[in-house]
Symmetry: C2
Subunit: 337 residues, 2 copies
Amino acid sequence: MATIREVAERAGVSTMTVSRVINNSGYTSRAARARVEAVIAEMGYVPNALARSLRFKQTKTLALVLSDITNPFFTTIARGVEDVANRHGFNVIFGNTDESEEKQAEYLNVLVQKQVDGVLLVPALSTEGPVAFLRSRGVPVVVLDRRVPECSTDGVRGDSVQGGYELTKLLLGLGHRRIAILSGPPEVSTAADRVAGYRRALAEAGLNCDPVLILHGLLRQAGGYQMTQQALALTPRPTALFAANNFIAIGAYRALRDARLHVPDDLAMVAFDDLPPALILEPFLTVAAQPAYEMGQCATEMLLARLAGKGPDARQEVVLPVEIIIRCSSGNPLTGE
Amino acid sequence: MATIREVAERAGVSTMTVSRVINNSGYTSRAARARVEAVIAEMGYVPNALARSLRFKQTKTLALVLSDITNPFFTTIARGVEDVANRHGFNVIFGNTDESEEKQAEYLNVLVQKQVDGVLLVPALSTEGPVAFLRSRGVPVVVLDRRVPECSTDGVRGDSVQGGYELTKLLLGLGHRRIAILSGPPEVSTAADRVAGYRRALAEAGLNCDPVLILHGLLRQAGGYQMTQQALALTPRPTALFAANNFIAIGAYRALRDARLHVPDDLAMVAFDDLPPALILEPFLTVAAQPAYEMGQCATEMLLARLAGKGPDARQEVVLPVEIIIRCSSGNPLTGE
DNA sequence: CTGTTAGCGCGTTCAG
DNA sequence: CTGAACGCGCTAACAG
């Protein structure tokens, strides 16, 4: 609550001297410094970063806007972001959009007003609006996890096409021919890309792709549950399920259980996104694991480099490989076909 | 990047008129307003919240300082915090302390400098230092999840004593007499309180409490793993394990599996903190579940009430009940004893 | 080594 | 209905 002026008065010097003491800038006599330091300690003075930011046009604050911090994939990203930011003396404001473009727009607007130095954005939909908005306001952005079309930005994401491809190929290798993919909204690039990978694997195997096997729903448990019910209603019934993210996988598993179907005996299952080892008792799902923590780190480092003017001129896109982890849920090779 | 002055010039009015338009305050002629609004849209002007905050001494920003956002218990709290904050027009800066008091002190210092309006704190240790610091700087605090001693603050937490008591009583009811509790550092109040509940249940059952059964370690998987190894080395070996948090539980489970012991047949197990249903395939652990989301909500509402000067004069402590959820890991009643 | 002046962007006060 | 002047807390530039 105390201001620099009060400290100055109390110490019998000018505000400038106090400022120099605080920032170790310029010259200060030993005596003056000691007196000022004493007064600072005594009054519990803390410099006002707002005023400083107003002058320097630097808040040392980043923003992380994502769909839902509750999803361990994003939690892990957040941790990577915060670690790097903190190491560089930055703080992080976070916000959940729940995939809503309105909520996203509101956040971005406020964050720009608050003069955050940069934004890490998991865009709700694959539209270029939000990025364009930030750019026009001079706020550097790094797009995380998802692509935005027609808009070259710095970006970091996992290789959804590759993951979708490999997961599908794995199932094909086990003999599955009717694989349903439970994906997210087609407007979300990761959902689309995973479907693209799935298609590619099918095509490469010379199979044609039955469009009824491609389902779109919410990237949440409820979505997985619903899509699974739809998939089970198909004839012939799929022999394998590909869940496009971790929440969908859980929902799908629930739906299967409720239908008294056993994984992997009755149906095989694979999913995108692994759960952190600290959260699983018995690893069960075969997954394409994205390096979430590294994604957060990498994106933040890119952003900070931009801020420091150290980045390359051209926009940079980093696509990190995903790792296929084979566990129980994909089952053994199909027999009798 | 555009300033209010630039807008004013371009619109041929004074900055004050622009200000009035932005804030819908005072009177403005229809014509002036229209022109100003046009210029604002045209230039993409966004008011600078820093300058505004400097005047109003209000940043509309809260801070959430916790040990590790990666722990789903804290993630869920964070979501509750952010939801309420956002609904009231506040943003949230978060920071991970990893239970380190130095990291915590650094965060608090910076956050005070940044003039956050209030802090939600999960204190690293049960010391009054951090709270006193914030108070002396005039920053309202609500302490989350843990107690701080000798220091009346607003606080919200789950009832660790009750949870510890009921979980222990449950095991006793199943016939267990040698129950090892794998707890956190004794300086963390939740760790201490859960042990207190454990003790109370034992005492009430007329059993005396073998001190070797009370283990302290890190509130992480590694801690759970180590403590379990220690517990298994005891003679006679405990017949049940009480993990003081979710991470410890996972570590314990791993250690048991590595020792080729089966839960609940060889050893029963209960734990504090449930995992969100969206993350579990097969619910297995018997737990004391804390209402994490509500804790975050409640704490934030209390903080905002304080900021609005609406809170009660006296400091308020909310202790939320925990819910015992009985699943497989606690097993059936012991036989043959 | 130290103090004065000026201004970061905004909004309130008080005259027009 | 509108504008000029001042100050929020801080520091760079420039005297002294």
